[in-house]
């Protein structure tokens, strides 16, 4: 990846993380851990990969993204705001009465949200539907779907996995955010979905495993995915839950808890420091 682009994406992802903390802090509830683990992938997709136009969010041939792990809406909202779909000030009203930004993605009211989601296991089915519709009309658009590694414990995910391979949906890329933690603990302790790569492979998918926090690696992964025809692609991204805020990293307790004022200030200060150092380089 071009050095300037990588730097730029790193800075943008840092801003996206600040938006996540801002949103969850002001909401006094929400899911910072899993949001922070997908900030890099969403930043990469919306700023370097997807064909979207913030001025025309319903553009017919746009690439679509379904956030199947809908509870990580703060990350999606933050990246959409950074990308210009709406005013970042909206993040401060996340989950408030009368606010545009609902606790989980709402396609009816939020520009840039391609599918309402939040009930786990459902987004991937909708992504299959969008991909199938595109295939029927020979449209050029791509469909990206981001799932949690706990989420794939839902049986519907595997119904969808069968469907996507059966109908050869090579315009669909599913990203599994493998941060290893879910509400009740480690995914391997709660209900192990491992081995994730072998499962998708055996369902007829092309599988790529990638470091979720390395933009060069992400670019290589999506370039590789682009070349695959005749089957859907699953990108298993090895991520760190809470990535970027040291006291949240790999801590299951930060799955669904908002920071208090002190924690908020500490998180924002750390992210600002990261941003400043990226800027200075």
């Amino acid at each position: 990846m071009d050095e300037t682009l990588r730097k730029d994406l790193e800075k943008k992802a840092c801003k996206v993380r600040m938006g996540v903390i801002e949103g969850v802090y002001n909401a006094k509830s929400g899911h910072p851990g899993g949001s922070l683990s997908i900030c890099d992938i969403l930043t990469y997709l919306y700023f370097a990969r997807m064909h979207v136009d913030p001025k025309n969010p319903k553009m017919e041939d746009r690439d679509r993204l379904v956030l199947s792990k809908g509870h990580c809406a703060p990350a999606l909202y933050s990246v959409l705001a950074q990308r210009g779909f709406f005013d970042p000030e909206e993040l401060k009203k996340l989950r408030h009465i009368g606010a545009m930004l609902q606790g989980h993605p709402d396609m009816k009211h939020i520009p840039g949200v391609d599918m309402s989601s939040g009930s786990l296991g459902q987004g991937i089915s909708a992504a299959c539907g969008i991909a199938l519709s595109g295939k029927i009309s020979s449209s050029s658009y791509k469909v990206y779907c981001v799932l949690g590694d706990g989420e794939i414990e839902e049986g519907q995910v595997w119904e969808a996995a069968m469907f996507a391979a059966h109908y050869k949906l090579d315009n669909l890329v599913a990203v599994v955010d493998n941060n290893g933690l879910q509400i009740d603990g480690k995914i391997t302790d709660v209900m192990s979905p491992m081995p994730i790569d072998k499962k998708f492979e055996s369902f007829g998918w092309y599988v790529i495993t990638v470091d979720a926090h390395d933009f060069d690696a992400l670019e290589r992964a999506f370039d590789e995915a682009e070349k695959i025809s005749g089957k859907p692609v699953a990108i298993i991204q090895k991520s760190v839950k809470g990535k970027g805020v040291s006291f949240m990293e790999n801590q299951v307790g930060w799955h669904g808890k908002a920071p208090n004022e002190e924690e908020y200030k500490s998180a924002m200060a750390e992210l600002q420091k990261t941003y400043d150092s990226l800027n200075a380089e």
Binding site: S116, G121, S125, G129, I130, L132, S133, S137, Q156, M162
Partner: protein
């Protein structure tokens, strides 16, 4: 009665889809390994490249339908009522209902007239379940003609729509020159001022039979066919409550939360009159020929007439 044509509304559903396939070259139909039974197979024959079997996976099928709808494409998703409204309920609620997507759910084999398959497949709860989803339109046609008109109406209507079809062949009753289907509008089939019978689905022809029998006894029963259960034709129901002072509802579904409940809720708000609900009375069905089951569970014209007399007796 020998010349009465009988046809199951699931047949009408399949034929209507096939007929509309040329007019709507973009529309697609999904099924979950039941195309031979839901009759979407008829569409598959007419437009094989626009039929997609989802296998035995109704939850995914509803989600796929939702995704297709986001792209502006017309879509029908079909299965038995038990699985479309029952198994897939939460997906219908969250992925179709909440974003108010233009998905048509073609649910066949509704009610106890599924027959021999027994209780596991006799879905009496679908109307109640679907009624609780905000913005869901529910259509329960009474015969072949109405079923075909309903499929077209659903296709042309923008928003989530649940269509309820039956397995059992039922008499064609809407074969009249001025027949017109209007979404959300009830149809008065018999006029009368002593009592009103509000019926839906295969109970409509039985309601007409009941009214004719009552007439012979000097009782003038009004018969209203409610093909659109939601949104309910409130105006017509309130008018009937005011003018006849007593109502009987008849449906092949549980009396909890179905058409009867919808009618009772409406009249108690604006014009409280006795409402007697004929339907499946909070019990599971069992195996047996459909016609015998309808008899056993009291879904007969004789019972509608008995309920009508009882309702008249309750008038103040």
């Amino acid at each position: 009665m020998a010349d009465v044509i009988k046809k199951a509304t699931r047949e009408s559903y399949g034929e209507a889809l096939a007929e509309l396939s040329a007019e709507y070259p973009d529309m697609v139909v999904l099924d979950a390994d039941l195309a031979a039974a839901t009759k979407t197979g008829t569409f598959k024959k007419a437009a094989p490249d626009r039929f997609f079997d989802c296998g035995i996976a109704e939850a995914n099928m509803m989600g796929v339908a939702a995704g297709i709808a986001t792209t502006g494409r017309k879509v029908f998703a079909s299965s038995f009522a038990m699985f479309a409204a029952g198994r897939a309920f939460e997906i219908v609620r969250n992925a179709i209902g909440y974003p108010h997507l233009n998905v048509n759910i073609g649910a066949t084999h509704a009610g106890i007239s599924v027959g021999e398959d027994g209780a596991t497949h006799q879905c009496n709860e679908d109307i109640a379940l679907m009624r609780t989803i905000p913005g869901m339109t529910i259509i329960s046609p009474s015969d072949d003609i109405e079923a075909k008109a309903a499929v077209r109406a659903a296709l042309e209507f923008d928003g989530p729509c649940y269509l309820r079809f039956g397995r059992l062949a039922v008499p064609v009753i809407n074969d009249v020159p001025d027949y017109k289907f209007e979404l959300g509008k009830g149809v008065t089939l018999r006029d009368g001022n002593d009592v009103t019978i509000v019926a839906t689905g295969l109970m409509v022809y039985k309601a007409v039979e009941a009214a004719d029998a009552l007439k012979a006894e000097g009782i003038n029963a009004r018969v209203i066919n409610i093909h659109t259960i939601k949104p309910l034709d409130r105006e017509l129901i309130i008018k009937a409550a005011k003018e006849t002072g007593a109502i009987v509802t008849a449906e092949e579904a549980t009396v909890i939360g179905g058409l009867g409940s919808a009618v009772a809720e409406t009249v108690t708000e604006e014009c409280p009159v006795p409402v007697l609900k004929l339907g499946i009375n909070d019990v599971f069905g069992h195996s047996g020929p459909a016609v015998d089951l309808l008899e056993e569970f009291g879904l007969t014209s004789a019972n509608i007439a008995a309920f009508a007399k009882k309702a008249i007796g309750l008038k103040k």
